[in-house]
């Protein structure tokens, strides 16, 4: 049976894990109201910069980098 490579599941775990962790922290600890300094609220960092930009970019990077490395290793 074909099956997406392990690195695919790692990326899925990172993206969904991060989302559900942040939602849990919002529900339990109210981090959405946290002022991280200078009046900037935490959601801009964890949902905006990290969630919307950084995490998808990192996952997209490992999704091309690891298969390429594996192909290079197979090629010798």
């Amino acid at each position: 049976m074909p099956w997406p490579p392990k690195v695919f599941w790692l990326g899925v775990l990172v993206m969904y894990g991060y989302t559900f962790l942040m939602w849990a922290l919002e529900a339990i600890a109210g981090i959405n109201h946290l002022d991280i300094g200078g009046g900037v609220l935490a959601p801009t960092i964890y949902a905006g910069l990290i969630g919307t930009f950084l995490i998808p970019t990192i996952v997209a990077f490992i999704y091309f980098y690891i298969p390429e490395k594996a192909e290079e290793n197979r090629a010798g």
Binding site: N32, V40, A47, G48, T52, P56, F64
Partner: protein
Amino acid sequence: MVDPIVAGITVLYFIGVIAIGWYSKQRMKSATDYYLAGRQIGSIVNGLALESTYLSPASMLGLPAFVFILGYPFWWAMMAIIAGMPLATLLTAAALRKYAPTSFADYYADRYNDQRLRWVIGLIVVFGAILYITLSIVGMALFLLAILKLPYIYGVIIGTLIVVFYVYYGGMIATSWNAAFQAALMTVAAVVAAIGIAIKLGGFGALHQAILENNPKFFNTASDAAPPHPFVGTWLAVMGWYFVWHFGFATMPYTVVRFFTTMDIKTARRSIFWTSLFAGIFYVALQIIGAASKVMIEKYHPLATPELAAKAAELKKPLAVLVLASIQKTYGVGTVTDYSMIAAVEALNNPIILGILVAGGLAIAMSTAAGWVMVVNTIVTRDWFDMLLGIKKAKEDPVMVARTVSVVFLLVGMFIAFNPPALVLDLSGWAFVVIIASIGPSLILGLWWKRANRTATWVTAIVMFVLHLYAWLKAKYVLGHHAWFFLNDVLGTKLVTPHQVWAIPAGFLLFIVVSLLTKPDSEEVVQKYCVELTQEA
């Protein structure tokens, strides 16, 4: 009154688009060049083209409008759209590039060994395409309104003519290179506008405080006592919004066909990295613009006069809503909440930023309309007219027939855009869920599951298309909004399931059950289009 700086920047943009289109046309030698850019598109250009094709006015106008309406929890839906991009890398993009078909329907016809599938797959894609072409024309009309201050209806006509010209003379080479240029432009436009808004409000800290002062519930979530809106009032609703668009990048025809245009599998995978990078920057900027829209309009928009503020207080309505209503009345705009993002930037009173934004907005609308038109004219001209009906003209002169088909679809979109049935993001969500639920399972599981079979493809496509269409229309026109679960009136519940998003897992479940209960496809076909495509893909 037309601002010469805004108009000048827009004219510069059009000169750039025409120059790129003209250069591309010189290189176009065959029908393959027209359909698939000769499969010579590199990773950065293809990544940028993917960004501008995938992200439409539903992103640029619709997402900030929904942040304006639903508040911060909607940011997670935006995060999910970008997070869905990498999923496509290993789920569909690499395998489909290895297979390298011409049309979106090819995979279904080959994998399930049934050429008649081109009819049903094509029909569902055509439905989604009409919604998307419509929302792109609406977007163009709204951006043209920001420049020309003309009635909305003229914007719709002029916008359609521009896209007709663009698609007619370009083909996929023009749309690939132009789309890359447009992606860069729209990303820069959103970032410049977000920075401009932050500066106007006194910096990022002051921006957050201004948002809170204007709307104290904005950053609340489903766990807070007063969520910003009932449609994000439960975590189930927040999850619903999260998944509406999430799987679209891996399954929607207008992105899937771009995987076909890359030079090789390596380029296809790398393209998505560049898409995620640029789209991520673009979306963070849109999150900021959407969050600040209400406060910007109410504090700085020229139509937010003290008289209107007094009227808003009397009617107990937000001033921003009355400003938008005033724009709607003056220019005859169909769905004016879509204008909130432009209105927020108008409030900056900076014609250079508005000019860049309008050029970026026209870019995103044109590239999306063109991308969808290319998908449907490939399906109609090649799959239906040539392969299924054997029409001689479609075989002898496919480019001319495809161009005619493009014009027909753009005209249909234009007529719907005169009085759009919903906000641009509503049209987008509708198209996404119906396509993902009805033909997504057979695409993804067809690649990764040997038991996926032809019967399940037919059953899922027909049942989920009809069921979702009924559910969406009932929720919208009987219950009042597509976000209500369509059986709320029967069950006595108040469940929020945006765009009837339950249809996505239901579609996958139906596909799996029917596949298990019916005869498997031949071993030879499964080996060729499932096992071999996903090996080391």
